[in-house]
Amino acid sequence: MSPPVFEQQDRGDWPVGTDSFFQPHRAAFWLLAALIVNGLFYTVNMFAMGFRVVPVTALLGVLVWGAYTLAFLLVFRTLDLLEQHPPEAFVLAFAWGGLGAVYFAAPANIAIQSLCAKLVSPDFVAAWGPAIAGPITEEFLKLAGVILLVLVARNQFQTALSVLIVGAMTGLGFQVVENLTYTVNASMHFPLENQVYPVLLNLLTRGLLSGLWSHAAYTTIASFGVAWFMLHPERSMPTRIAAAFLCFALAWAMHFVWNSPLLDDRFDGGYDEMALLLLVKGIPVMAAAWLFWREAARENGAYLHALAAYFVPERELIRDDEWVRLGAPLLRYKVRREMGWTFGLRARRLKTQLQREQLRLIRKAMTYGRGAQTLRHEVAIRRLRAELDPLIQPQS
């Protein structure tokens, strides 16, 4: 069988640029969209019942978990992670996690727990059911969405960080919809008729005490494997598969330990002991996720430095100190925070905009080359600098 025509053509013959995430000619796009829409019907139907039975909980739950999502987005935005892709990528990732993956996770988890009850015992399921069913099902389904998104617009994923943020967003979507479902279910079985307490209790336990080391962290780790597989074509296929599998296994193991009763008997049932247990289980997950983020950020920094050095050589667009901090989101954040303390909120806002425009300029220049298409960003940078510089000049 002869290879398709486009594979025979020389790489340099194809237009420079990146694909959008709206790809009606690609099967992966339609599969992703169809499964998200399917999940949407399921989720809406489920919450419609929640609204009818415990309306206060359902409404308050939507508001609380919506605000929780915004808090995560704010952190991502603060670290300039949302600059990695156009908004539709994050919408699709979040929707896959919250709608597509949740739809399939429910019957699979039920089937595994039911099988455990039948083949072992209901006592076994009560203790180990969540650890056996949850991690394998949920990590697999969330990652399936990440893979579909990568298939939809492969050349949007130039760095590990660009895959990790999509993974984190997928995990966040799953986490938020799962938390909302737990909140509504908890209200239906709460030991009081009160419909507000279940929301507050779930926000405390699932949101604040567990939120940082939950699905967003697991899927980040698993996604690193996908990124490594994709971005290291020079390695042998078994090595790439092994790397992807190892990351998945690590995410699974962390999720397993979190769901398991392994350490439960070392802590009594008090609220302080429960909080301690959550910290003991969660901190290793957080540390692992942090290491993956750091490695991805380091690689992303090197990538940005190389792009900036070639495509944006003008130092009035990216100054020396700004160039150094291109790959260090925390340092960039620190600079604008200090600028805010010293020179006021307006200076901080302008510096934030300046940093983002620089990132956009680099990315657009890398995609299309310098020219009319990057002019908007160049003008914006010059304008922002002209506004910012007088504000941060030392007073004579």
Partner: protein
């Protein structure tokens, strides 16, 4: 104008066409095989467990003697929380949960769940009941397009405990199932060792 010194030009991304259907199909098949396979396996695995005649079974604090011919559905029973028995198409579900509220329990919530969530209708009024062991609470009947049933609720304020008993199934043979359910309820107490 000061410039950064040139370096090797990074490879620009190019919009090279590629096929996604093999990958998309693989993902779809993997999901279908995983979810469908597990559901198929679960459906093919029997979940009934016969119960010894005359021997008490316990759910949390509640314990009772199952009527003859009723079997345990292990997949729909949760250790210490709920026990599902079945006979033919009829189900007998006992749940035990903590309750820190008033003596009426979550009756309103249960009725809202049945009426607004499950599309059932409450048949008549809620009435009180007392068993020969002194177990007392509230009960009501309900019906839907395909099933009918009766719900009992016992609130034990001292133990901060709530026991709910729900028997339901197709109208055909429901009277016999209801008679069995009443006998199981009559045998029930809240003295199960914890």
């Amino acid at each position: 104008m000061r410039m950064w010194h040139d370096q090797r030009m990074p490879e620009p991304s190019r919009r090279i066409p590629y096929r996604t259907w093999p990958g998309a199909l693989a993902v779809l098949l993997a999901i279908a095989a995983y979810v469908g396979g597990l559901s198929f396996w679960d459906n093919r695995t029997p979940g009934s467990r016969p119960l010894a005649a005359g021997q008490m079974v316990a759910v949390g604090q509640a314990r009772f003697v199952p009527a003859n011919g009723w079997e345990m559905d292990v997949s729909r029973s949760k250790a210490g929380k709920s026990l599902m028995l079945f006979k033919g198409s009829h189900k007998f579900l006992v749940t035990n949960e903590p309750w820190a509220g008033g003596p009426d329990g979550p009756l309103g919530r249960q009725q809202r769940f049945m009426e607004r969530g499950q599309g059932l209708r409450i048949d008549g009024d809620v009435s009180d009941f007392v068993t020969s062991w002194g177990l007392q609470g509230k009960t009501f009947a309900y019906y839907g397009s395909k099933l009918a049933g009766r719900f009992w609720q016992v609130v034990d304020l001292q133990r901060r405990s709530l026991v709910q008993i729900d028997v339901y199934g197709a109208s055909d043979g429901l009277n016999d199932a209801m008679a069995d359910a009443r006998s199981m309820l009559e045998s029930m107490d809240l003295e199960a060792p914890q």
